[in-house]
């Protein structure tokens, strides 16, 4: 018997007799002989639970995580504090181990969570309809594009370069499949170039896609930028950070037809990038084109309130090639984590957290801007992330700061050739003013050292200062 199975030799004998075969091999006779593997898989032998734990713990130990490093990394995923009740509730078997609620009578818990989650996301984004979640942020942007194509019968997207680079790349990947053209509009002073945007949008445009706060942390004037979409009958798609929606004007109030985004900041771990969830909210006009599961309220035969999967006629298991999207398994457990986190924060706490982020981030921005060799990349309003320019090689500065146990931020040069000297710094409620002071000091020291090393380099031509 291998791990997690229960068939004893006696069980097997009885079962084989009932089937009417002599051995399990007989059941695999339907596989043509030439295709049978005929050798063991080249994988290690099974291990005890303790050994597996030690092996995985050893691998985990070779990562530098936000527990052992003061992390100012963001760029789409953030080190927020996830309250203990999120873990307690999401680890309950009743939420952890069922599948999609196809049998609503025995899935009321999960379906009601979806309904509550949809309500919360609808409130956050200011749009009337939300689904129960998608895979994650960037693929939600691509799904929004797909919806816009279906809704407008057009095949062009105008996308701000302020949209997360991973979202833009994912949209481009999907667009090759469903046959759309992607036109990018640049940034001016940290925000979308409004004149360039207006010039790029035409009567062939299915959607204008922007992000606020954008990838550089700047809050975009969505309402003003969206006018071009309205003028040409394109849908306005806004990628947003849910954690900022306690204070920022919601996309729905700025004219957005669709609001999507990465849900990780709400109740989800960093997990090196996933699993998290994406959210997808829209105007009522789009409800029958929405991707993913949607829970709806109804009644049972005795008149009791209950919940079911609504509008399933959009979905692949019913509509097959005519489905509005191919998605099936999404991220129900991650959406539950978000809902519990939001309930824990509550109406007041959610706004307070937003204000805390704005103030701490403003403080960090001011402290860093005062450091010799650091200047702001833009001075647009920000919530919890901002961009600076360093007067020294960014990667080398990051290495020096890492030696002091700090992850200073995300090097913008990874995605933007125009910002090779750029650093994106994220501040969550876990980053104390003292840690922010420490970052300012470490950055100043690292930049000074790099400049000194450069001087030394040019004096001696000997390589110095490289830190692994």
């Amino acid at each position: 018997m291998s791990r997690y199975t229960s068939a004893t030799p006696d069980d097997r004998a009885e079962m084989l007799a009932a089937i009417g075969v002599a051995s399990v091999d007989d059941l695999f006779e339907q596989i043509p002989g030439r295709l049978r593997l005929g050798r063991p898989l080249e994988l290690p032998a099974g291990m005890s639970e303790a050994e597996v734990y030690e092996r995985l713990a050893a691998l985990a130990g070779r990562n530098v995580d936000a527990e052992e490093q003061v992390s100012f990394l963001g760029a789409g995923m953030y080190d927020h504090y996830v309250p203990a009740i999120v873990d307690a509730i999401t680890s309950r078997s009743e939420f952890l181990t069922p599948y999609t609620p196809y049998q609503p009578e025995i899935s009321q818990g999960g379906l009601q969570v979806m309904f509550e989650f949809q309500t919360a996301m609808s409130e956050l984004t200011g749009l009337p309809v939300s689904n129960a979640g998608l895979y994650e942020g960037p693929s939600s942007v691509a799904s929004a594009g797909y919806l816009a194509m279906g809704a407008t019968k057009r095949r062009k997207f105008v996308v701000s370069r302020g949209v997360h680079p991973h979202s833009r790349e994912t949209l481009a990947t999907y667009s090759v499949g469903y046959g759309a053209e992607v036109v990018e509009v640049g940034l001016e002073g940290g925000v979308t170039d409004s004149a360039a945007l207006a010039a790029a949008v035409d009567d062939e445009t299915a959607a204008v896609i922007m992000q606020s706060p954008n990838f550089l942390g700047a809050v975009e004037d969505v309402e003003a930028l969206g006018a071009a979409a309205k003028e040409h009958g394109a849908l306005l798609v806004v990628a947003c950070d849910p954690m900022t929606l306690g204070i920022l004007k919601p996309p729905g109030e700025c004219g957005a037809d669709i609001a999507i985004g990465e849900g990780q900041p709400l109740g989800n771990r960093l997990d090196f990038g996933g699993p998290s969830f994406g959210f997808f909210c829209a105007t009522e006009a789009q409800i029958r084109r929405m991707p993913g599961r949607i829970a709806g309220e109804t009644e049972d035969v005795d008149g009791r309130r209950g919940f079911v999967l609504a509008l399933q006629t959009r979905e692949q298991h019913i509509r097959r090639e005519k489905a509005t999207n191919n998605i099936c398994t999404a991220q129900a457990l991650n959406a539950l984590g978000a809902m519990v986190h939001l309930a824990w924060l509550g109406r007041e706490g959610f706004r307070e957290l937003g204000e805390l982020l704005v103030r701490r981030t403003a403080y960090a921005r001011e402290r860093l801007a005062a450091v010799e060799g650091v200047e702001l990349l833009h001075d647009e309003p920000v919530v919890r992330e901002f961009a600076v320019r360093l007067d020294a090689p960014v990667d080398r500065v990051l290495d020096r700061v890492a030696e002091r146990g700090i992850a200073a931020g995300y090097p913008l040069g990874r995605d933007y050739e125009e910002f090779e000297d750029g650093l994106l710094v994220a501040v969550t409620e876990r980053r104390t003013p003292e840690q922010i002071d420490g970052l300012a000091e470490a950055l100043g020291a690292a930049i000074a050292a790099e400049r000194g090393a450069n001087v030394a380099d040019s004096a001696t031509t000997a390589p110095q200062g490289a830190v692994a």
């Binding site: 997690y4 691998l59 990394l73 309950r92 699993p275 609504a310 090639e321 998605i327 007041e348």
Partner: protein, 534 residues
Amino acid sequence: MTPLAEAPMQRERATTIYEKSKTGRRAAVLPDAGVPETPIEDLIPANLLRSDPPNLPEVAEPEIVRHYNRLSRRNFDLDSGFYPLGSCTMKHNPRLNERVAALPGHARLHPAQDPRRAQGALELMYLLQQSLSEICGLPGVSLQPSAGSHGELAGLLLTRAYHADRGETRSKVLAPDTAHGTNPASVTMAGYEVVKVATNERGGVDMDDLRAKIAAEGPDQIASLMLTNPNTLGLFDENIEEIAALIHEAGGTLYYDGANLNAIMGRTRPGDMGFDIVHLNLHKSFSQPHGGGGPGAGPIAVSSRIEPFLPRPQVVRKDAENGHGPSFDLDFDRPRSIGRLRGFQGNFGVFVRSYAYILSLGADGLTEASETAVLNANYLKARLAEGRAGERLPIAFDRHCMHEFVLSGRPMKNELGLATLDLAKRLLDFGFHPPTVYFPLLVDEALMVEPTETETKESLDAFADAIEEILAEAESDPEAAKNAPYSTPVRRLDEVRATRKPVVRQSFDAPAAAAATGEADFNDATSPSGGSDA
């Protein structure tokens, strides 16, 4: 049957967290900002600010915990009972995997961490890639796709890139009529047209129809064939080599929907069958918990001719140098790649769990898992061929099955007036999750049963006994099942109403937030449920 007195759980009417809210209550206590309390309007212009905060609930922590614990008890779950949902592989979810996924080195690792400071994570991904490569018999693996349907889309985009690279444009993708719903839906999203292929009397691909469809569409239009093997009838397609030859001769790629991989691990490999692209559902064969509908992950394994087009970034291993051990990195420099399918590196937390599962079972254990899954399915099939079930619920294709099998409820419906849906609902009262129902579509009143290897013989016997009892009950009292369930928190729900006049969020003020727009839609209660989960 007269309605029973209300069970306690039925008396407790559904109340949302918003309805438990009262102004002034709260759970969270936030840290002091510790910085100047500058008015927000001085930091962000007023026209960009929100006037009213979102209506989130105001509830203290004890009530939040109680609320969600109570909700949890209104769910049936795998840890509470048998869950033979066909094509979904509801196998045990080892708790060790949750423990190792929660280690801070995994759970609090930022996805943009410099690869030099995420060596353990990258090595884990590399090792998982190697393991999946060996299990599939294909050299290239990308872990990036987020679920099965995402893997399908990836596979079709890879197919498109492969053909484009050869200067070809092809427009059609073949798929059997037994295919999961995600297959045709993915085909459309990838900009192809689906062409359905019939099923033969053995439950496999109808070879004559396949040849005819290739000829009718023109071999140079065939981009790919998507196949599940064993298919959704739980049957291994014995003609797979010939199918592969036909598709490859036409110049198409052969795509393997790995939803049913749990049948064959260590026994045969998609790569050896001739498949070019495979997606795997880590939430099926590799024990990631299903989470009420996710998260999952849908890695893809591909042949060497498809490998150059895999999504970016790829995890790569660099050989040891300068006395250091091997190192791992993210490779973005892949000029022929289809690009990204999502953010960052994929559902890493799922990778940790599935890698822990592979380590736990090892080569022998994985093979034995598949063998036991097949044994359990055939045993349950044999049990259900006895007695009343054998008469009223005949097997759709009578031969040895792999990890699942499909019954037809047509005689039951004709002779007892009991639809498959009624049987499914009555099973709820017996404490079982029903099989996938009304799928695959070519079997009338279908029930698709997948017991998995982690069930005991006793569980399988109890399930077979319950079916027998329900059928016996129906002979004397057909209304009993038709009105079932009786014991669940709610009884049969009006699904048509939820689609005609969808109420998809809590209303905080009159008028109700009913969103009724667009064409009228009907939600047939006998639509497929389960089985398409990818």
